[in-house]
């Protein structure tokens, strides 16, 4: 039976989004299966269905990968093609897992999964230690500025639950991570298969004094994952009711991208630069005093200015950067390579513009972190630092400071495909 979650508990729960990445054999599916199974989030009919399929294929045990690999091609080929989203909850938190494949188009999928994650769960096989893939995952977690990283050293049962093995890997990883831009790293020795330190404390590793994986997931502090300092409100949609009752109503609807806005605050409107005050922050439930990320609200201003989608409401003493020239770390997702001097549609917060790729500074080898300035052909799954010029100025922050106002995507003008995604430096 699932642990009953009371209504009071439900009203206090928050949401943690995390990403997992891994290859076929590092036990990722087993771990996800274990988290879902132990939190009673797998239903009986789902379990029966995958058990039946596993048996039919002559596999040993129940293959939890079948839970997430839902597409026909994935089931036929035994591979994961795309990011799959899984859900589970405990009385403390609701979790959204973006489960990304380790091999096929790994950069594209990992970057996608990482873009909204609060936490990255990286698996290391205790027998093999840090491998290329570990570095790849860690680099992407750092590039996408995932605030928390949990390193699960898995398959501890196959190394006799050895403390030395664990410490060595931890040391190696810490040395490697010093080259990355990550702040909050946790290590847990686990056996996903046997269940050690996943939900319950392991009896086999008394030397480990840290928390179980589930405890970490439930308790990692996510309250400051959003930028609460720089007030940013990209206008998404203008609400004009055209009803007698709301004759002069002109509301700027959007989702707060940073900082905390309060009624009565002096604000500046971009690009015009006019200043006014917030008359009211409106929602369906009525007025609210404060709006902060990731709230969706409607702002009403004291003076009547013509503000439209793509404009931004900020504080006068804390304005974003404003430029047509951007330095960007770009991840490329398409078969057709990035073209220098090529023109693309650029999407940033709620605005669109055109842009031209001025220069490719270097290509990043994500396995070695080497910067390649000689070979700058940027193809599918490559990551490169580029210089972009836009047709109109964008109001942005560096991605490190704000993931919402610091991110862009590039779209092909002809096919409308999303070609790449970038983090503004």
């Amino acid at each position: 039976m699932k642990k009953g979650i009371t209504l009071d508990e439900y009203k206090k729960m928050d949401l943690l989004r995390f990403t997992t990445a891994g290859s076929v054999d590092d036990g990722k599916s087993t771990l996800i299966g274990r988290l879902l199974y132990d939190s009673k989030s797998i239903f009986e009919d789902q379990y029966d269905a995958i058990k039946e399929t596993s048996e039919r294929r002559g596999e040993e045990g129940v293959n939890f990968a079948l839970l997430t690999d839902g597409l026909k091609a994935e089931r036929e080929q035994g591979i994961t093609i795309d990011v799959a989203y899984r859900y589970f909850s405990t009385p403390k938190r609701k979790f959204i897992i973006a489960d990304t494949p380790g091999h096929i188009q790994y950069t594209r999928n990992m970057v996608t999964g990482a873009s909204t994650a609060n936490l990255a769960l990286i698996l290391i096989d205790a027998r093999h230690g840090i491998v290329e893939q570990t570095k790849r995952h860690s680099f992407i977690a750092s590039l996408l500025q995932i605030p928390h990283i949990v390193i699960c050293i898995n398959k501890m049962d196959l190394v006799d639950y050895s403390e030395e093995v664990y410490e060595k890997i931890k040391e190696d990883f810490s040395a490697f991570a010093s080259k990355l831009d990550v702040n909050d790293i946790h290590f847990v020795p686990i056996s996903a298969l046997k269940g050690d330190n996943v939900v319950d404390e392991s009896q086999n590793m008394p030397w480990f004094k840290g928390s179980t994986l589930m405890y970490l997931l439930e308790n990692v502090h996510i309250g400051s994952d959003h930028n609460l300092i720089d007030c940013r409100f990209p206008v998404q949609f203008v609400i004009r009711p055209y009803q007698d009752e709301y004759h002069d109503y002109r509301g700027y609807a959007g989702r707060v991208g940073g900082g905390a806005f309060k009624k009565g605050d002096e604000v500046m409107l971009l690009p015009s630069g006019f200043t006014t005050k917030i008359a009211k922050i409106d929602t369906f439930e009525g007025e609210v005093e404060t709006a902060f990320p990731p709230m969706s609200v409607t702002m009403l201003l004291e003076d009547n200015f013509d503000l439209s989608r793509g404009d931004m409401i900020v504080r006068e003493n804390n304005v974003p950067k404003n430029s047509q020239d951007l330095e960007v770390m770009l991840c490329w997702f398409n078969d057709r390579p990035l073209r220098v001097k090529g023109k693309y549609v650029i999407k940033h917060t709620t605005q669109d513009a055109m842009c031209i790729i001025k220069e490719i500074r270097y290509k990043m080898d994500i396995n070695t972190l080497h910067r390649n300035e000689e070979d700058t052909t940027v193809g599918m799954n490559d990551i490169a630092r580029v210089v972009i010029r836009t047709t109109k100025p964008l109001f942005y922050d560096s991605y490190r400071r704000n993931r919402i106002t610091g991110s862009i995507i590039l779209v092909d003008e002809g096919t409308n495909e999303t070609m790449g995604a970038g983090m503004i430096i």
Partner: protein, 300 residues
């Protein structure tokens, strides 16, 4: 906890963002309304997104003609309440005009026939974004859906070639004749939906609450006895206390034995149940990838 949202408020904020994004990026959006709890949640969130203005798009109901009468009554009341336009695409009309052929036999269902009617309605009215209440936790093929899901000129879904979706940036750019399916409540689970209904005090059709009904059992699924289903000689109808967890055609929507006659009891029941909600849908039981097969053709 000062600047902190509960998970339900965060999900709500995300869905509202998606609704506003659709209104901003598309010319002729439409909300697909089935009368089920997920589409009821959708109308509720859409109302919040545009308040105090009215919801700026019509509702489209693909009517198989095999609906529960309670669902239709509820639909009509809701439409009046919201002050939006309701459009109905009729599967019966499609059958009568010879566009589709009705299945026959005891397991006959009009579920698959909805695809043609839906695609025709989208084409006739030139809708460029059709919003649906599908959730990723419902079914394994839906676990891979995007919020903004691109469809080619034939309305088809290509799951292997979807546009990557990052951060809060949604690419709704398209060519003439193509459209999008948009799923604002992708990240909600069944339990989230029920908890939200309870907290928000949202009224729901009576079918969702435990009631007495004449039912029979087929392949382990409890079906309501009704004029649209042909019963086999071996099948026997009897009175049961049931409720419905999903709402589809009377021909394929299974009931569950339940005593839950209030939202509180339903929340409790959903929190402790061990069977997925679509476990009672015989349309999903046709094959292991029944949902993906239908989705590729344009099912929502």
């Amino acid at each position: 906890m000062k600047y902190h949202l509960t998970h339900l408020k965060e999900l709500e904020a995300e869905s509202i963002f998606i609704f506003r994004e659709v209104a901003a990026q598309f010319e002729r959006p439409v909300l697909m309304f089935s009368g089920g709890k997920d589409s009821i949640l959708m109308t509720h969130l859409a109302r919040k997104a545009f308040f105090p203005a009215k919801v700026p798009f019509p509702l489209l109901h693909v009517d198989t003609g095999h609906n529960f009468p309670e669902a239709i009554e509820y639909r009509d009341r809701l439409v009046t309440d919201l002050g939006v336009k309701l459009m109905v695409g009729s599967v019966q009309d499609a059958i009568d005009s010879g566009m589709v052929v009705e299945e026959t036999g005891v397991n006959a269902s009009r579920n698959g026939l909805q695809i043609a009617t839906l695609l025709e309605a989208l084409e006739v009215h030139k809708f460029d974004a059709a919003m649906g209440g599908a959730r990723r936790d419902e079914e394994k093929a839906r676990a891979k859906e995007r919020f903004f899901s691109h469809r080619d000129e034939f309305g088809q879904w290509d799951p292997k070639n979807q546009r990557p979706e990052l951060w809060n940036i949604f690419n709704g750019n398209k060519n003439m004749g193509e459209h999008f399916r948009v799923f604002p409540i992708s990240n909600w689970t069944e339990l989230d939906v029920w908890q939200y209904m309870l907290i928000e005090g949202i009224e729901l059709p009576s079918l969702y609450f435990a009631h007495q009904r004449e039912c029979f059992v087929r392949d382990g699924v409890i079906l309501a006895k009704n004029e649209f289903v042909e019963m086999k000689p071996t099948e026997k109808a009897e009175m049961m206390t049931v409720r419905f967890r999903t709402m589809g055609d009377m021909t394929c929507t299974g009931a569950t034995l339940s005593e839950a006659d209030t939202l509180e009891k339903i929340v409790q029941e959903v929190a402790t149940t061990r069977i997925t909600e679509r476990g009672g849908r015989s349309d999903d039981k046709r094959s292991e990838t029944a949902m993906e097969d239908r989705k590729k053709k344009g099912y929502f």
